[in-house]
Subunit: 212 residues, 2 copies
């Protein structure tokens, strides 16, 4: 079948028509904003992991994303270049108006309007433990949003610093360990020096959330 349809990509245990690398999801951990929830759309930053050609995800117990995936077995990975949206979706619910809906397998699945691209995955081989859920991902539908693609993204240490600060902020909230505050302050300096307006807004919001 692979020879007859060379454009098809093997994903997990099934063949899929979606070449996810074209949509930015490649080897390593791709930092996306995952949308879930057929009834109440939700969004949160989640890393899509590919190791040895196998795409999978690890979701910590108790989150909305975890509950939605456990119940509905689907998620959409949104490729987003807006650092403020990473911070907002980490700590707050996005507005219903920030979601679009795409038809897939008779469902109307929520994706983010701000995404440059999105890939909807079916979650299979779901393993739910005390701490987290792990699921293999089979891409079933994907698309680009050309309007959001027109401005090419460029490596920016300020944007990257916001991602790092957000990771450390969630760890600080969980543990209260002050070593994370030191890291967050380091990344705030970098975001301020190398970032644009959006990175400054993102760090301001993050500081407000942490009451710094």
């Amino acid at each position: 079948m692979t020879e007859l349809f060379p454009e098809y990509t093997e994903c997990g245990s099934e063949f899929s028509a979606v070449d996810i690398s074209s949509f930015g999801i490649r080897d390593g951990i791709s930092e996306t904003i995952v949308s879930t929830g057929l009834e109440h759309p939700n969004a949160a930053p989640i890393g899509i992991i590919i190791k040895g050609g196998r795409p999978f995800v690890r979701l910590f117990k108790g989150s909305h994303t975890w509950a939605n995936v456990l119940k509905e077995k689907y998620l959409a990975a949104n490729i987003v270049y807006n650092s403020l949206l990473f911070v907002r979706s980490t700590f707050f619910d996005l507005e219903p108006s920030e979601f679009d809906y795409v038809p897939v397998r008779g469902l109307s699945f929520p994706i983010l309007k701000e995404a440059a691209a999105w890939v909807i995955f079916e979650c299979i081989n779901v393993k739910n433990t005390d701490q987290a859920l792990v699921a293999d991902l089979v891409p079933i539908e994907a698309g680009f949003n050309e309007a959001n693609r027109k401005d090419l993204p460029v490596p920016n240490r300020g944007f990257n610093a916001v991602l790092e600060a957000t990771v450390h902020a969630t760890r600080y909230q969980l543990s209260g360990d002050e070593k994370y505050l030191e890291l967050i302050r380091h990344y705030e300096t970098l975001a301020s020096k190398c970032g644009g307006e959006n990175e400054k807004k993102a760090m301001k919001l993050l500081y407000k959330v942490l009451e710094l």
Copy 2:
């Protein structure tokens, strides 16, 4: 003139036909690989700075990029998503075969074949001090390389970690301060955990250069 030609963007003190934000160069510091040198093409990672709508660059004295810009007053900012190329162009000369040449103002200017996009700037108001050269940048020609754009880039903490490690490696080489080694080791862990094959190769090369 702006009203007659709304697609024109004011850059520095001149009007230019190139909207550099479409090519990824925006507010803050855009991490590009700059190519220079009409006779002997050279490439090195350089941040293109935009503050208050003014694009400019700061080049440390003694580098090939500094010498070429001082002499020829042009540089090309290449948007590159390959972390290994950032490390290679920091510490080594690239191969002549890695450059393409584009015609601009009767010159044949070197750009990188690997670039997803490139912007050629004229360097004006060049101020050369004891330590560095600062020049305003007027975009005069730009282009996309559609073949390199087909795979969408996605935020990846491993890619970002390679950039940070490279910055700290150059500081370590200049100062010998061991605090940089600690940072480099932190980013190596991150590149290994979150990056793909390219990030692993990039960090391996960086460690080799630093004899770690």
